[in-house]
Amino acid sequence: MVIEDVQNQLGPDGGLRAEKDGSRPAANDPMRPRSGEGEQTPSRVKVEVRNLSFWYGSLQAVKNVSMSLKQNTVTALIGPSGCGKTTLLRCFNRMHDLYAGNRYAGEIRLMPDGANIVDPQVSPIEMRARISMVFQKPNPFPKSIYENVAYGPRLRGVRAKSELGDRVEAALRAAALWEEVKDVLRKSAYELSGGQQQRLCIARALAVEPEMLLFDEPTSALDPIATARIEELVAELKDRLTVLVVTHNMHQALRVSDYTAFMYLGELIEFGDTENMFSAPGEKLTQDYLTGRFG
């Protein structure tokens, strides 16, 4: 059945069906990637994961994972519950450092400089300034919409009201939320709907101009319409940065990603071009998962 789904998803030219409604960034949008980046062949590597392992205390949750994430692509992390995909995702911005007893081994090299994200000598704060995250359940701060988005730039020292205003607007535009909230920026973020709150969280993450954006099952708490809007957004965002999405919904992976990584029990079973992997998976385990034999 997944095979039919794949064929339904593919447009007549074989590529993923894109849904455009004109909300792509305008030519003079300050958030648009500057010349030299994006809109080019996604062949440059943005992140190189080498032999990454992770332990919660004595339990090994990620086992020796290696993969390359290309610049300006969307990569989906799929797999059954407990396979380690969220654990792997949270290694990229050192979220595990917030809790005691966790240990990394191996490398995640962030290009172009090659910094090893999981190196204990490397500051997690610096890494988080370059890699942002959007969480499963929308978690805006109990502040106004404006303050939520402005917090990131404020952290970086931006004080001037006009500059903050510009950055907030640009981020909200990039998250396809500006039109809906531009007149009510002082309202509490909690008055927004679930889907709007999630887009607010995306805007908040974009306001710090990250090189990479991590999504942890971003639509699992949202209704189908909100989900569709977020998926659109994710596909667009790859123009400006590199995206890694964890999803428990393999159809979503098919809709949204260029590459897919399938994990099972902490190991990376298969990684490849999304269309190829869904239509002709290389590993039996992948095939079994995609056809619903387990999961």
């Binding site: 003079n28 300050p30 500051s123 952290l155 970086r156 931006v158 607007e169 531009k182």
Partner: protein, 309 residues
């Protein structure tokens, strides 16, 4: 204003993130010292109690202290047996707990298992107000209201006695028992109750045989706290029980507790360093050791009696 702004082109890159490691470490150090300060306070208490009572125990043997039956430090020929004070503390605390524990537990069970939510939300805060009344006011109440009422029933009751303050102390402690036990019982998962009801048990049966045992660690901790509170109470007994140390177990007699004695001496003029002065530290040390023992017991009970859900 923002809608009218002209787009002026690309925004500059954000300044790089600045981490002030030194400041972060200083802040942790400061916060840590605040945390550790509580230990300093305990050390301070122990140090003072021990160092000021040491000279006392130089003069009075521990055996005499613990077994002599009269406490008359201010007499010409002083006697230093703490038993009368201990008796005063024991009897008043016993009366208080004999009132507070049953009544508090019944209130807790009723609030947790019987009362509608709206009632509980109103009653609990008012109940907690009972423990917010200043103890000196309770002392006034015990002396000038409760004792006369008791005298109507027991005409031979003297104006200073242990019954009145004991009862008032019990009333003060009811919220400790009631509110904390109720918290513990409400934390018991519904699923346990449902199992009992499904078997046809009454509400009371379920409360006593399922909920109460399941919440026992929290309830025991509440009882222990109540005991500590009763033993450490000062003003109610100082005002209403008479401040005369007597070795008696009769609640209708006046008596002094360990705490009331300390107050009595402090009110007077005792030269710093005299044995009378030191006697209050000896009394205080005894009190501290007793309440510490109860606190440790309470902590152990909280750990050991916890049922695994």
């Amino acid at each position: 204003m923002m809608a009218n702004r002209q787009r002026t082109g690309d925004l500059a890159a954000l300044p790089p993130i600045r981490i002030n490691n030194f400041r972060e470490r200083m802040i942790v150090a400061l916060l840590f010292s605040a945390g550790v300060f509580s230990i300093v306070i305990t050390f301070g208490i122990v140090y003072i109690l021990v160092s000021e009572s040491l000279p006392f125990f130089g003069e009075v043997s521990i055996v005499d202290f613990l077994t002599d039956t009269m406490w008359t430090p201010l007499f010409a020929r002083p006697r230093y047996g703490i038993l009368p004070l201990v008796c005063g503390t024991l009897v008043t605390s016993f009366i208080a707990l004999a009132l507070a524990v049953p009544v508090g537990t019944v209130i807790a069970v009723w609030l947790s298992e019987y009362a509608p939510d709206a009632w509980r939300e109103t009653i609990k805060p008012i109940l907690e107000l009972l423990s917010a009344v200043p103890t000196v006011v309770y002392g006034y109440f015990a002396l000038l209201f409760v004792t006369p009422v008791l005298q109507a029933v027991l005409p031979t009751l003297p104006a200073f006695n242990m019954l009145g303050p004991g009862i008032v102390m019990g009333i003060m402690i009811i919220p400790y028992v009631g509110s904390l036990s109720e918290d513990a019982m409400r934390a018991v998962p519904m699923i346990l109750r449902e199992g009992s009801y499904a078997l046809g048990a009454s509400r009371l049966g379920t409360s006593l045989r399922v909920v109460y045992p399941a919440a026992l660690s929290g309830i025991a901790a509440a009882y222990i706290l109540a005991i500590s509170r009763a033993v450490g109470e000062t003003m109610i007994v100082a005002i209403a029980a008479g401040q005369q140390p007597e070795l008696t177990l009769n609640p209708m007699d006046p008596a002094a507790t360990i705490t009331a004695y300390i107050v009595q001496v402090s009110l007077g003029d005792l030269p710093h360093g005299s044995i009378g002065y030191q006697s209050i530290f000896a009394a205080g040390l005894t009190l501290f050791v007793v309440t510490l023992a109860f606190n440790i017991l309470g902590a152990i009970l909280r750990g050991q009696f916890r049922q695994a859900y």
